[in-house]
Amino acid sequence: MASAKKQTPLFDWHKANGGNIVEFGDYLMPVWYASARNEHLAVVCQAGLFDTSHMATIRVFGADAFDLLQWCFTRNLTACVGKDNAPLIDGKCVYGLFLDEHGHAIDDSLVYKIKDGEYMVEVNASMGGTVATHLAEQAKGRDVQVIDLTDQLGKIDIQGPASIKIMAKVLKNPEAVFDKLPYFSMKGHFDPASTLAGQVQLLDGTPLLLSRSGYTGEVGFELFVERIHTVKVWEAIMAAGQEFGLTPCGLAARDSLRAGAVLPLSHQDIGHWPCIHNPWPFALPFAPGGDAFTKTFLGSAALETTTDPSYTLTFVGHDLRKVDAHGARVFLKGEEIGTVLTCVTDMAIGRHEGRIYSIASPDKPAELAIKGLCCGFIKVKSQLQPGTAVEIKDGKRAIQVVIETDVRPDRTARKALKLFL
């Protein structure tokens, strides 16, 4: 039977350039090209290019768009930007969650404010329909429209310290684009009819929505384009990036990079359980002190009264060996205490005298050979302090790991763009 899986506009490029294609949700996507390890290292040291066109974009607009998102999305849109908890204003985006009434995660998301009454919601592959339907149901009685743009856009992420120099070669007026573009902000628009479309253009005039974000922990951009322009934009960036070591990257590198950046994979690290007591408290609208929420939202009542005792925690191993997370269990002093959610190897880190260094750490000891460390998330039945040693075990092997608060140090995502020019 022929595969019913979907292809992104870059499928033929991936095939022609050695991409190992796997089924991922509804899509056929490259898991790696020549080497997932080298792709991971390229993003930490130079730059990597990801086809993320399988992700879904939803347009939410109308007089009550703010009210709908303020009810459904976990961030308080009046107080979520930067250290000062400023409101989400035009040109900013924020990471958070859509929860159901039980406080379980439907999906995680970036919500962009384009302008008053106009928001863009970015969710995971195959989730456009689910989240759009959910928002439309919650919208009843409100003056708001929800349009699922799944498969109508191309999306390309360029990530890593060389991203800025590479994009400077392909953009019109890069100085203006990069000026006042902090982490979690955006400029431009993919729709040529938008008044923002002139802000960010390729040299040939193709309009882009450029977002200073990504899911690797490294500095870079997410680019949204009309679907017909996807291959052209990708090829222009690949050509410009050659001199900087730009490497096309598959899903495996994306998975190991996000784990090293302590970011969850939706439906694996967050999912059908109360979305609380995890490494991502910033995704919820906690008041200072972390005991109460600053707003009422869909799922908040369930989270406030949950009796689920489980805690999701970050761990890092002592070498690169991992276990198969599927069905793997966690033991503390011989007692089984939970399950493994994610277990991958961050190839860019190593331990030395009790401390974790990145291959990009400026103070990395000369004698430390970086070979990678296994890392990920566990869900256990009680809180464990950082430094606690636990054992994770699949059907074949058991490895010792340590509870940590962070994984790959010296990540670049939040650094000033001018440092990379």
């Binding site: 495996a252 276990v323 074949k396």
Partner: protein, 128 residues
């Protein structure tokens, strides 16, 4: 891609008889491509003896941890020590610098092993 002087298992190991009662053992080019980057190879001690089909070690790639099974009965006389520092040798050339074990053959070669043509046909059938 599948050297004629090797015999193969359906599980994608090869054995290369050296003509002096010993043979090299490793995983095939098809196996290393399917695994992706090999990041760790766990091998047995010299002196260990195995029957055909016994697990002799594991290969860890970015994707998974896979067991390796000895294609034919033998006793380990040497392991490829280079793989500890350079597991990527398995990716770079699985049959030469990526070999894993040298074994002293016990009895005749396992009669169930495939020759290169039969193994190639097996790989083609698995790919569909």
């Amino acid at each position: 891609m599948y050297p004629a002087d090797c015999k193969y298992t359906k599980n994608h190991e090869f054995v290369k008889p050296l003509g002096d009662g010993t043979a090299l053992v490793g995983i095939t080019n098809y196996a290393q491509e399917a695994l992706g980057d090999v990041v760790f190879v766990q091998l047995p001690e010299v002196g260990a003896a195995f029957a055909a089909g016994d697990e002799f070690g594991t290969v860890e790639s970015v994707k998974t941890v896979s067991e390796c099974y000895l294609p034919t009965a033998g006793e380990v006389v040497e392991i490829n020590g280079d793989l500890e520092a350079h597991p990527e040798f398995v990716n770079e050339d699985a049959y030469t610098k990526g070999w894993m074990l040298k074994i002293k053959l016990t009895g005749d070669l396992n009669p169930e092993l495939l020759d290169a043509a039969a193994y190639e046909a097996h790989v083609a059938s698995e790919a569909h």
